[in-house]
Structure formats: C-alpha cells, structure tokens
Symmetry: C2
Subunit: 476 residues, 2 copies
C-alpha cells in the first residue's frame, strides 16, 4: 500500500547501530526477534525484522529511543501483539528496533481509597484486573484478548471492549502517564489526581497515538468499587431499533448501572454452532437479534433486569429472554459472546469492519449496508458488538460452502461500500481498533482535512525525524 512516511529518511538498525546500542545497555536487553514479534493476529502484515529490545526500566527505554533518534532509526513499540490493524509490525524497510515493554510488567502501586492503580506498560491487562480485585476494586477495561494484551498497548490504541458504556474506553480510565518522547526525554506524569488543569493534555495526545508520538512506559489508572450485585441477561429483541429503546429503558431504570449492552445477530450464533460445537447456544430457534445485557448494582441486579424485561415485553421490544441464575450461567452467556469473534476467525471473513454510528443512525445503517452488500451477490454478514456505544463489528463472510479466497476481487469494494455508508451516516471507520497501518488511507479519505493537517503538524513537532512507529497512523 506504499505506507512509507518519513521512512525514506530513516536508517536501518544494522550491525553497526546495534553494536552502538548494545554498548549503552545491559547485556541481555537486545536480541534477534522471534517470529511472533513479526506477526499479527489476522496475518495481513508481516514484520521486516530488525532488532528486539526488551528494556527493564524507563531509563533503558529512554536510552534506546534517544539513540534511535540520533541515528534516525525507526522504533516500533510492542505490547501484547494483539492489535488488529497492524500497528505492531512494520512491513517495510529499513529494519527498525522493535521495543517490547514485556519486562516492564510490575504493578507499582494500588491505592484502594483513592481508587488508583499504577502499572507498568508491559503489565498484562488481566494482571491489572487481578491486582485491583485483590483490593476489592474493579479495573473495568475488559476485552477478548485481556489475557495477553498489555496495558501500554491498550492505552496506546485507546482500547474499548465490553464495559465502555459504563466506564469509558482506555482513555477515560487513565489519570497519568510515564512516557518516553521521540527525543528520548522522559515525561514523569504519573499523577494520581482527578483534576489537574495545568496546560495541554499530553496524556490524551499519547493515548490513541498508537506509539507514533512516544512510548508509554507506565500509567496511573482509575479503579472503581466492585458492584455487589451483578446480573446478566440475554434478551431477544425485535430489531436493532428495539434494542436501542430497551437500552434507554434500562438506563432510565438503573442509570449508570448498565455495565454492558451487546448486540448479537443470528449469523454469529450460527457460526458458533457450526465451528465451535462445544459452546452452547441457549436458544432452540436462533433469534435474529439478541441483546446481552449486564447490570452491576449495589443490590438486586436480577430484579432490575426482570423489571426491564417486563417493560420491554409490554412495549413490544423483546419477545423472550434468559436471566443468568448463577455465576456459571453468567460466564456461559459471556462465553457465547466471546465465542463469536473466535468463530468469525475460523470461518474466515472477506472483510471486517470496526465501525461506530450515532445511535439515531445505527438501525438505518444496518439495513442499508446489508442491502448494498446483497447486490454484490450471496454473502453472509455477521453484525454484532457494543450497541450501547454505537460500535458494531460489521464483518462480511463468504456464502455457505465457499471460501474467502474466492472473494479477493471484491474485498476492497466490500470495505468501500461499508465505509462510504458509515461516512454518510456520520460514523467512524475505526471505533476501537485504531488505524495501525491498515486504515492510514481511510483517514486520508474520510478524515477532516483540518484535523489531518493538525495531526501532521503535531507529529512533525514532536517527532521531526519520524522515528516512532513509522508507517502507522500517518504517512508524509
């Protein structure tokens, strides 16, 4: 795709540079990267190679970045490697330094009264959750890859997941950062403060910049009280529009107590049944649309779910439903939800889209997009996701019995149809996965030109040599 921003002026991490770098660091920091550092989950990008640096301290990170900046060698920050848009692998020459934060994986501090945790960037997301739980607190960021994703990567990509509706995305959970800027300077910004109005918001500039403006090395994060009563339900809804009305009812009933509101389409349930037969789908006849709803309250979450279900029946929004009666049932409902992306991967999509829409536009978008795609021929669409946030994973699959390879010639067209319609509906072509290297051209096509120019100016101001994650987010 020709994504070569600034990289024409970059130098390779060659032997001479690696020798120079090695002399600045303890002996075991640099090595040759194993294959896993050059791969990404969907297999669309393959890394060019380079040298792997695995520093243990922020000072070592700073040494690596400073040396790279002086020598104009690219730096590709690496977290858990779970990103879906190729932000973690650089396919083009010159070979970069791959900077893995895996050894900076300590929880530095937990403050239950303050509801704050301070964790290094390489801490696995699930370990942040556990450290919070050990103090009877909740760290609410939760997503499918939480067992291997690292918190620094979650922040750099502003990760979303199933609790955004209530607690916000990674950005909203971050109070402060420690980071190394492209010139190698260390920003010691690990504030635990809730309010600090002292100038430009560098924190939110680094969050979501996908490693192109610096390397996050640690973060101060918000914790929350654990709701004492958690209830989970599957409700069969008449339509996406009915689901949105049900969500409004739920929020009128329990306010912020709605932790999750996910929409599942029948296609996803069928995929799960087809390729993951061990996962139980708790419906005889698979409904076209199902909402997975979770409340977390001070008390009686299941009672509240029942009230919302009754009101939904009354208003002709829902037709059937199940409320989990035990923790194992709750886990089974969530297991079904998490099985859907796994099943998608096994079936193999022609094209996947991580989109968001204004809620008023969302139901119309779904029917328009399905209609437009139907004109291309027989396709299967699995549309599911975080309805409460207006975030759909709108993934397009081959007709039954056919293979994705047969659709190579229409892949770009499929994505164009989806993204054009998203644009017309005032939506976003990247709701939670970020741009990485996959969506750089989409940003140029659909992004506001004034904002794009401002982004370029900021990139040039903070990283004039273009060393940070070359090819991601922006090209020159």
């Amino acid at each position: 795709m020709g994504l070569k921003p600034w990289s024409m002026t970059l130098n390779p991490a060659d032997t001479a540079f690696c020798d120079h770098l090695a002399a600045l660091l303890p002996t075991d920091i640099l090595c040759t990267p194993e294959a896993r550092y050059l791969e990404e989950p969907r297999g669309r990008f393959a890394g060019i190679g380079g040298v792997l640096a695995r520093p243990r301290t922020v000072e070592q990170v700073a040494s690596v970045v400073r040396a790279c900046n002086v020598a104009r060698v690219g730096v590709v920050p690496y977290g858990g490697g779970t990103g879906l848009v190729g932000g973690q692998v650089q396919p083009e020459r010159p070979a970069p330094v791959i900077l893995s934060l895996e050894r900076m994986n300590r929880v530095r501090d937990v403050r239950p009264l303050e509801n704050v945790i301070v964790a290094e960037a390489g801490t696995i997301l699930a370990d942040v959750q556990s450290a919070a739980e050990a103090q009877e607190r909740l760290f609410p960021l939760s997503l499918g890859s939480e067992g291997s994703a690292r918190i620094g990567g979650n922040l750099a990509t502003n990760a979303g997941g199933v609790n955004v509706l209530r607690y916000g995305n990674a950005r909203d959970l971050c109070l402060g950062l420690e980071a190394v800027l492209p010139n190698g300077d260390i920003w010691r910004g690990l504030t635990r403060l809730r309010k600090d109005n002292t100038g430009y918001d560098l924190r939110n500039l680094l969050v979501g910049a996908e490693g192109t403006l610096g390397v996050i090395t640690a973060a101060a994060l918000k914790l929350f009280p654990r709701p004492s009563s958690v209830g989970t339900a599957l409700m069969v809804v008449k339509s996406p529009e009915a689901a949105l009305k049900l969500l409004a009812m739920a929020r009128d009933e329990v306010g912020e107590g709605v932790s999750s509101f996910e929409l599942l389409h029948r296609q996803g349930l069928e995929f799960v049944q087809e390729v993951l037969p061990d996962v139980r789908v708790p419906f005889e006849d698979f409904p076209e649309w199902t909402a997975l709803i979770e409340f977390g309250l001070a008390q009686d979450a299941n009672d509240a779910l029942e009230r919302v279900f009754s009101a939904g029946l009354e208003a002709d929004l829902v037709s059937d439903g199940l409320i989990a009666q035990s923790d194992s049932q709750r886990m089974a409902f969530w297991g079904l939800r998490e099985a859907i992306p796994q099943a998608n991967k096994i079936v193999g999509s022609i094209a996947s889209h991580d989109i968001s829409l204004p809620l008023d536009e969302l139901p119309g978008f779904i029917s328009k997009a399905r209609g437009a795609l139907a004109e291309l021929g027989p396709l299967r669409v699995n549309c599911f996701g975080h309805l409460g946030d207006g975030n759909l994973h709108f993934n397009v699959f081959p007709a039954a019995g056919r293979h994705r390879g047969e659709y190579d010639n229409i892949r770009a067209q499929v994505t164009d149809i989806v993204h054009e319609l998203v644009y017309v509906c005032s939506g976003s072509f990247s709701a939670e996965h970020g741009l990485g290297r996959m969506k750089v051209a989409d940003l140029e096509r659909y992004g506001d030109p004034t904002r794009l120019a401002a982004m370029r100016a900021i990139k040039l101001a903070l990283d004039p040599n273009g060393i940070m994650n070359p090819g991601a987010v922006l090209r020159a």
Copy 2:
C-alpha cells in the same frame, strides 16, 4: 510579571488593520469593547483594549482568525468572562482582537435517545442545562457562574464544578468540537460518536488549552438520564480523613450514585454569617468540618443517605447530620455552599488557591499547610471544595478586623508556601481554574520539563505566529 510570549513579534489591531478586517465582515461585527470585556472577576488583570469582534457564524470566526494570523495580530477569545486566572484579558500591548462568541449561542441539536446535545460556544451554561432538561435529560456541568459562563469557555478551560465526582469535568462531557485553528482553518469535528479511534486527540488538545491553540465555536456534549430520586445531606464529619472514609462508604453503598461530595470548613460558615446574614446556616454551633453530599439514584436516595449516615455514626466518622426533606431544603443546602465563595469575595482574600491532592495526601496537606501559614502570623484559612475530586479551594484571609491590603508584602510568600507543599504532596497548583495569565510562572516552576517542552513544540506547530491568546498558558 513580564508575560510576553511571542508578543514582541505581534502587531496591534490598529485602525488600518481594523479597516481591513471590517471589509471582510458584515457591518455590525466589529466595535470598540465596553469596559466589561477588559475586566475579570478578581480585578487582578485589566485588558489593554483593542477591537471587539462578535461574529455570528463559524465562517466569520475563521475570517477574523485568518486575517489576524496573516497580519500577526493577537486574538483573545472571550466567553462569559467568568474565569478566575486572567485568561480572558490581555494586559500587555500590542492591542488584540477580542473575539467574543456571545452571538453564537444556539443549541443546534438535542438527541435524547443518543444522550447528545450540540451547542454553539456562546451558549450560556445554564441554557445548555435547560435545553437538556426540556428533553428530560441532564447536562451535569454545574458551577457557581453557570448563569453567565458560556460553554465554549467552560470547554476551553476544562471547567469543573460540583458534579465532577460522578460525571467528570468539561473534558469528559465533550464528544466533538467545531473549532477554528490559528491559521483560520475550520475543523468540523462535531461528532456524536462515543467511540472514534482515528488518530490524535485534537479535541482534548483544544479542551483545556484556554484559547491558545484555536477557538472552539461549537461542541457536541454528553447528556445523561436524570436520576429520579435525588437526596442531599449535610453531615458533620470528624475530620477531612473521616470525610474521605465516609465518601468510600457512600460509594460502596451507591456506586456512581454519589453525585457530589463537598467539604466545608467552619471558617466558610462564619464568613457567610458575617457578610451574608440572609443565608441561613442550619447549625447552632458551627461544626469544624461539614460534608455536603448528594445522591442521585433510581429510587430512595434519602434512604441511602440515612444508611450511609448510620454507618458513618457507627464508624465514628460523623457526629450529626441533616437530610433535606424537600426541594426547598435541598436548594437551601446548595445555597449555603454557593454562598461561601461569595462571602469569600466580600471578606477579601490575601491569596486564593485552587489546588488538588491525591486523596491519600489530602488530610496531611491540610494540617501541614495550616501549620506553615500559622507561622506567618494571625491569618484565617477557608479550606473548602470538591473533596471527592481531591480539589480544595484553599483561601487565605486577614485576621479578623484587618484588611487584605495590610498583607500585600506576604501575598507571594503565602502562595509559595501553599504551592510548594502541594508540589511535595504530588498535587496540582491548578485543579479546575486553569493557568490563564496568573499561573504561567507556576507551570514553569512546577511543571514537568519534558511536558513543558512538548507543550511549547505543539504551540509552535499549531500557532507559529503566536496569535492565539498571547500571554496565556505559555510564554516563549
């Protein structure tokens, strides 16, 4: 204080420039500013004059800014004029264009299902609240000056107020912006999306930049369901530490349902009694520390307040309390809270401080700061504010019967003592008021040098001529 950033290279908005500008605009946009545009509430800064522009459209704003950029004339954005740190008035020459958004005061859109409102920057905050209320929604930003502050200024300064604990500050309530950047380009970023991961966070860069990186002309803002049961209490707490434990209890009891948790010191009640005798203080003997607590729940807020009060009694955290039994009592409790800054103003502080502390440091800070100030001689300290956010207004007054003018010689020393101690306690010298022109030197003294350098680089990248709000936030 010598705050002359970039301004040596700026030109005055002289007659020739005003003639040029007038030719680009409808006839009634430019005029000579009345005195109120050159004043600020605490009387510490007085504007140098200049020409007043009152555009009606974003295109007119863009024309003004573009012309100023070409001619290198300063632009001072003006909202409601309620800021407390001099961000809205430029005291030094050369005379700028004062750009008031007062005529861009339309609510453009309200979407109750989406929980979104779109308002122009000049909309009075109370009018945003009313427009939300008309659709049975809540816009939670609430502060003393809401009857005259304008939403664009609230966003530019990342305003706080009494509901930050639950709903966040202005930054957290903003989904999208329309803004004019320093080169006169219009960013049309009024997204209603909850999730949009498509590059650098320009929104959060403009929010809190106090008009130094561009002019906000409109915003898409979050709305919330109105809690159906609101309860308000005054509880006498043993100490600030006891108040923090009570807050943790309250959050365990009702989670996010704690809307406000304010701390009041006896000194504030005494000032109110002294200078605002019409305001009733509902205690015979004024307690040293009182918490003003508001819950907003789906039901039975007063029951929940009673449970927290009982638990607080049991744990020896509280000794007395009042739960409002009617809306008029609720309003009276809040009236007392809002009377405290009014009383402060009448009494006349030697120095005011808008600080925040990590919650674990907050009780220790209060006693240490009072001890350090006591060594200066007889002073009165009124320490009150948004305890749940760690945000205190720590204001220092003359001894009874004496006048602030007698303390001119120690004013700087008082602030140094407070801000140094804040720094040692990992706090912030500006929690919610911003930097304006008053705290530029504090940023240089206490700010992280790496972040400060990044701020300068961003300012130079987006506003190379330094036209936007010269002298605020940064100096060259």
